[in-house]
Subunit: 199 residues, 4 copies
DNA sequence: AATGAATGAGGGTTCATTCAT
DNA sequence: AATGAATGAACCCTCATTCAT
């Protein structure tokens, strides 16, 4: 019975994960979630208080991971000396090994958290991540070219960097391909920003 | 009387523009649109046949502009020799004058068309734009570095380029700022892609 | 101006007559009536208090005719000696001349009154006519065959006789064809009822 | 529970049958149906997909019966030799036994199908029936009196024959009375048409 | 623990009627 | 007299949530 119960819960969570992943919070349907979990609508409400609660249960893990990364994100800025590197392939190698640590975070629930949480109390999560990254860009810009006049692009870069990563994660299941493409995508951002700052 | 009528129509259009802008087509509420236009739900239907019709009235102008750009977009690729240019500022100047022609398209309605048209007959617009751009990236990649191994990034670049522009348009009303930032953002993409292809 | 006014009124009445004729009271649309009368919805209400009032103005003439016929309908039963007649062609001739007097009643407004008045205070008109005719049938039946066991058919005969006439009027505009077909249709009823009463 | 469910379904079906019977499809109100079924509007939609679906569930049985009769209605025309029979009572007997097979079709749902289906995909049913019968009349007329000059009456006869049957079904619930009256009504049509064709 | 029936608020839409001009 | 904008009640339908069993 103990086992049985967990089976049902997992079945619901799986079904919900798919639904939220495909449609986002607002357009997701509790009926569909129940149906694809091979259980009843009423029974879903025996295990989860509400649609929002169910969403929380799925999204909480990546949310907490993100929070803890935020708290000690100074460790992240160790890569700053990269800016000095002239050889792009060296960047690729360095970045790949750094990314490797974060890759486990890029799961379906993370994608849901970032782009499917509109309408929930988690909708700030995406903004927080964007802002954190935007700050980074901002700092780098300031550090590298104090007189650069298009600083407003920092949040744009941040957002599109994140969305690009999300897009790669959504489209490619194979973790190796993910790693290769995300690395290259981040290198692209590094090269691009360096380029416009250089001149 | 003539004036009165247009006032109401504009009031409805403004209200609808905001609603569609904030919520997208599907989640937008005709009741809310009416309320924010200081009129009655029934009266909205005196001026517009349906929700979809109201949406069309807002989105048609940027849609047609996009279509006409698509039809003669060969003129766009004339800028290919830019790739040879080493001086980034030259790129900036060239791109800025090119973008100048497209700037009138980048309005709130355009944003709605691109990211709020799910559920309408315009939902293909975003995809069409993304595909067109993705092809461009693809061609450039192939032209410049036949052995480049991360070609899968083309659609990602396309999508994030568009989303970045959208984000700029959303955040800055001043057309001059828009022009400056969009130009720089596109230059950033050019520099970035060139950089990763070069090595 | 006086003339102008009547023109508008007639235009509205004509348009309404068509609309009620084609759709019946309930499904008729005031908007459509106004449009087809080349005037405004609001203006229709300057001349007629309501949809029901407009309906009345169209249907009142045939209604009153019907009422006056009802009041002295004993004159109608003078044709009873027909029952003795064996020659059908004699019936045809006799009936045709009788019908001739009633033909002017079978106009579009009459049709509207009989089959398009559901939902109005005139909806009893049809029933009244049916009942009057049913009584006639009843009397004849009783007169001719006191032991006939299917007396309940009287109202059915009445209703179908009326509906048949209405159908002929609706489908044939030519008054001569109307006369020929209605006569024959009534003869058919006479022959039919006589036949089943005879045995 | 199983029982409870069927009770509600039947309650809704009954309520809907009455509503459609009284008002026809278009004017019937789902709210009224729900109210008269002692349930909620939303709950009606738990059992039936749409207004049209609910209508189908009521009308499908008589519709299918009608269709199967249409498919092998050649068996019907076998009674043609009846035309030679001079004894009306023989006709009565013969017709009654023929009608007996069709009687189960003549229910409230059948009435709804024939006169209340405007606005649904079943709206052709009445026309189909009328046309089939009109053809029959046409053939008989031609067969029996090639020079008869009022052939236009065929569709009128067809329509009024049907409407008469409908009227009987509407007014008499007792199946035996139905049988007696419908038989007599059809005999009346036979005698009537024979009479006018004979001369 | 599980069912699925029931609820109610909200969605888009139509239309007779009223009212200010 | 004429306009047509505005209203409000009713339409069909959806869906998260609750509740009795």
């Amino acid at each position: 019975m103990q086992i049985k119960k967990e089976e049902v819960i997992n079945s619901i969570l799986d079904s919900a994960e798919n639904e939220f992943f495909n449609l986002g919070y607002d357009k997701a349907s509790m009926r569909t979630i129940a149906k694809n979990a091979d259980t009843t609508l009423g029974n879903v409400y025996n295990y989860f208080d509400s649609k929002e609660d169910l969403f929380s249960k799925i999204v909480d893990k990546p949310y907490n991971m993100m929070q803890s990364i935020f708290r000690n994100h100074n460790s992240y800025s160790k890569g700053d000396e990269l800016l000095e590197i002239k050889n792009i392939d060296a960047w690729r190698k360095e970045l790949r090994s750094t990314l490797h640590r974060y890759l486990p975070m890029f799961t379906k629930p993370f994608v849901i958290l970032i782009e499917g949480s509109t309408g929930t109390k988690y909708s700030h999560a995406r903004d927080a991540l964007v802002n954190l990254l935007a700050e980074h860009f901002h700092e780098h810009i300031y550090e590298y070219n104090k007189s650069y006049e298009n600083v407003e692009l920092a949040p744009v870069f941040a957002e599109e960097l994140i969305d690009g990563v999300i897009k790669i994660v959504k489209n490619y299941d194979d973790i190796n391909i993910q790693e290769r493409l995300i690395t290259e995508y981040v290198v692209f951002f590094a090269v691009g920003t360096m380029g416009i700052l250089n001149n």
